[in-house]
């Protein structure tokens, strides 16, 4: 299958490893990945911040660049949510749902040693609704011990510009999320959104916690 990668602005800039991992996983499964170099941002930040006109321009760009593909994959459920739920583009998928739901793959042949907990991000749960696709993939990773995260479905407090505008509330939510991760004793907290991992990873790092925030794609790509 020929699949276009939408790396997202945050993914391109902060989570290039997760982007490379996405390419590796899909190529290993025999798919062709293409990267339309015109791409930048889907416009979610502007839409969520109330800048509707800027968002509309970015939306038109996004539709022009990605509208023609049979399948577009992105390592960010939040941006997929914007494309699919708000722009009504049915061809855009988050990586784990593409693998499990579209391609019927639950074992990508990965190995990753250690205890891992999975944080289901809000948009993966309640907007793109990837369900348990990430957990199915993780359960098939050799050497990986998946442990449940307490209060898993609660938001980490990122929320885009919310993290800046309502920094104190955002930080209170993050503190609870970091406590929950500590409770699991996991070495890694994984998720399908770079933006949430930016928040969780930043919180864990600031408190000197032993756990790291790692994108799901990187775990699936490791051998």
């Amino acid at each position: 299958m020929r699949i276009a990668l939408f790396i997202t602005c945050i993914g391109d800039t902060f989570f290039a490893d997760a982007g490379r991992a996405t390419v590796r996983v899909l190529e290993r499964l025999g798919h062709e990945v293409v990267f339309p170099e015109e791409q930048t941002c889907c416009g979610q930040m502007h839409l969520n911040s109330g800048y509707a006109r800027d968002a509309a321009r970015l939306r038109r760009r996004f539709e022009r660049i990605f509208g023609g593909f049979d399948a577009v994959v992105s390592p960010s459920s939040s941006c997929v949510g914007t494309a699919r739920e708000l722009y009504e583009m049915e061809n855009v998928f988050e990586l784990s749902e593409l693998l499990v739901r579209r391609l019927g793959v639950e074992d990508v042949g990965a190995s990753f040693a250690g205890r891992v907990t999975y944080h289901p991000t809000c948009h993966s749960l309640r907007v793109t609704r990837v369900g348990d696709a990430p957990q199915r993939l993780l359960r098939n990773v050799r050497g990986l011990e998946l442990v449940e995260l307490p209060r898993a479905d609660e938001c980490c407090g990122f929320g885009g510009t919310f993290a800046i505008k309502n920094a104190e509330t955002s930080s209170a939510m993050l503190a609870d999320k970091c406590d929950a991760i500590a409770e699991t004793g996991a070495a890694v907290c994984t998720a399908v959104d770079g933006s949430c991992l930016l928040q969780i990873g930043g919180g864990l790092s600031r408190r000197g916690a032993p756990a790291r925030a790692v994108h799901l794609a990187e775990i699936l790509a490791s051998a």
């Binding site: 902060f14 930040m45 911040s49 109330g50 309502n166």
Partner: protein, 476 residues
């Protein structure tokens, strides 16, 4: 009104508040989840609830006229109030005309919205709150922080101490039964003496003129049956077309709000009945901004709200800040979309931003109000109404950058100094608001697009050493 972030900052200092809230919302949340799971057609009920509310709003003018005729035919008097002042004047006039210097009140958000108690106080009439939690707040000069559980921010020892200072000197126990008994003793005689009762309403039935309230404590039934005169204040959006529609809402509401299959008291009354209950019924139909909400096609779904408070209990923001930060009797996610619409966006511009758009509220809403979508809609209105020049400039520059992959790549290169750091601990304002409590993951040393380009067209010198020799399509 204080902006949400400022108010939240104050509330977040209160660890007791957060602990109380966490305990209370966790309990209600679990109960709700349990009783909702046992209804096999829950999603169909939600759809039905939404459809009925849409029907009401689409033909509100007709249903209001029908309701007015039905109430009057049953012996009630209908008053129309454009705003809080008009509604409060009606209630004060009714009380005055019966020589009442005190009215007994059941818990009612609508009367809180119009600040009825303060208006009556000015007219020399005391409004006695008879709901247990509302009584607590009234005794302490405090105000509600939750739609359903107004004193959710108080725990039982705080309440015992308050009662000891006020209505029950010497009370030692903080057991719920003892606290309830103290309030019962205080209220009973005043119920019996009251000449005028005041209520809100959960539903008004256009077809029959029936008013319905649901409650847990029974104080509402006393307010609506003991005094000879009853005034009911009803927001115009509270109508249902048919009596049979209650079938849907009396399933949706208790399960969503208290996590009960059925609430303890459901009272229905139609006009007045000889020798039974109040002999004089006044119904005040309140607009107070609702027709303005109705005019907004996207925003009007906020008027579907049946005040169950399920959205508060699941909201990660509400459970940290509590209700007071929202500066309105309607806190939480529903407040974030209702208050700015009722008061005008320019008067509550920070509320639509008091959400991470996590979507938990939409999932539990019994009438399927798409709160995240309305928040986005109101954010755009807030940006239009209230200019924030620094933010607007930053976002326009970002949009300009994103409009060109070349400009975007340049912006990525500008971040290179950060990319060389192991961890970013301090950033200048406004990003200092991030780094105050969080580190920032440094940007990738090599942005993805740079890697892709090198991989697709490897520079000759590196070609032999790189593992990537296959050339891949780079353009769609």
């Amino acid at each position: 009104m204080t902006s949400f972030p400022e108010a939240a900052r104050v509330e977040l200092q209160n660890d007791q508040l957060r602990a109380n809230l966490r305990n209370a919302t966790d309990t209600i949340r679990a109960k709700r989840a349990r009783v909702v799971a046992e209804v096999p057609d829950w999603e169909a009920l939600r759809d039905a609830g939404r459809a009925i509310k849409e029907e009401v709003l689409a033909r509100l003018d007709e249903y209001l006229a029908q309701f007015e005729s039905a109430v009057e035919a049953a012996g009630g008097v209908v008053h129309w109030a454009r705003d809080a002042a008009e509604a409060n004047a009606v209630v004060a006039e009714v009380a005055r005309s019966h020589g009442a210097d005190e009215v007994v009140k059941m818990k009612s958000l609508t009367t809180d919205e119009i600040e009825l108690n303060a208006a009556l106080e000015k007219a020399g009439i005391h409004a006695l709150e008879t709901d247990f939690a509302e009584l607590i707040l009234q005794l302490d000069g405090d105000w509600s922080s939750h739609i359903l559980v107004p004193a959710i921010h108080r725990n039982r020892s705080e309440i015992r101490d308050l009662f000891a200072r006020t209505i029950a000197p010497g009370i030692a126990s903080n057991e719920p039964a003892a606290l309830a008994e103290a309030s019962r003793r205080y209220l009973r005689k005043r119920f019996l003496d009251a000449r005028v009762g005041v209520s809100g309403a959960n539903f008004g039935i256009a077809e029959t003129g029936t008013i319905c309230i649901v409650e847990s404590e029974g104080n509402g039934r006393m307010c609506t049956t003991l005094p000879p005169v009853l005034v009911t204040v009803l927001g115009i959006e509270k109508l249902l077309p048919r009596f049979a529609d209650l079938e849907v809402f009396l399933q949706l509401l208790p399960r969503s709000s208290t996590g009960e299959r059925m609430n303890p008291y459901t009272s229905l009354w139609t006009g007045v009945t000889d020798g039974d209950g109040p002999q004089e019924l006044h119904v005040v139909l309140l607009d107070n901004g609702r027709t303005r909400v109705l005019a907004d096609e996207m925003g009007r779904q906020a008027l579907h709200c049946i005040r169950c408070s399920a959205c508060l209990n699941v909201c990660p923001v509400y459970s940290r800040t509590g209700g007071h930060a929202y500066g309105s009797v309607y806190p939480g996610p529903i407040g974030a979309i209702l208050t700015p619409q009722l008061r005008g966006i320019e008067n509550a511009a920070s509320l639509p931003f008091a959400s991470t758009l996590c979507g938990a509220c939409y999932d539990v809403c019994p009438v399927k109000i798409d709160i995240p979508r309305v928040l986005l809609h109101l954010r755009a209105k807030a940006v239009e109404a209230k200019s924030a020049p620094a933010e607007a400039a930053a976002l326009h520059v970002a949009a300009w950058t994103f409009a060109s992959p070349r400009r975007f790549a340049v912006a990525q290169r500008l971040l290179a100094p950060l990319a060389r750091m192991r961890v970013v601990r301090r950033l200048p304002w406004p990003l200092s608001r991030w780094t105050a409590t969080r580190d920032l993951r440094p940007p990738a040393r090599e942005p993805f697009r740079t890697w892709w380009r090198k991989r697709a067209c490897p520079p000759p010198a590196r070609r032999s050493s790189s593992g990537y020799t296959r050339r891949r399509a780079v353009r769609a």
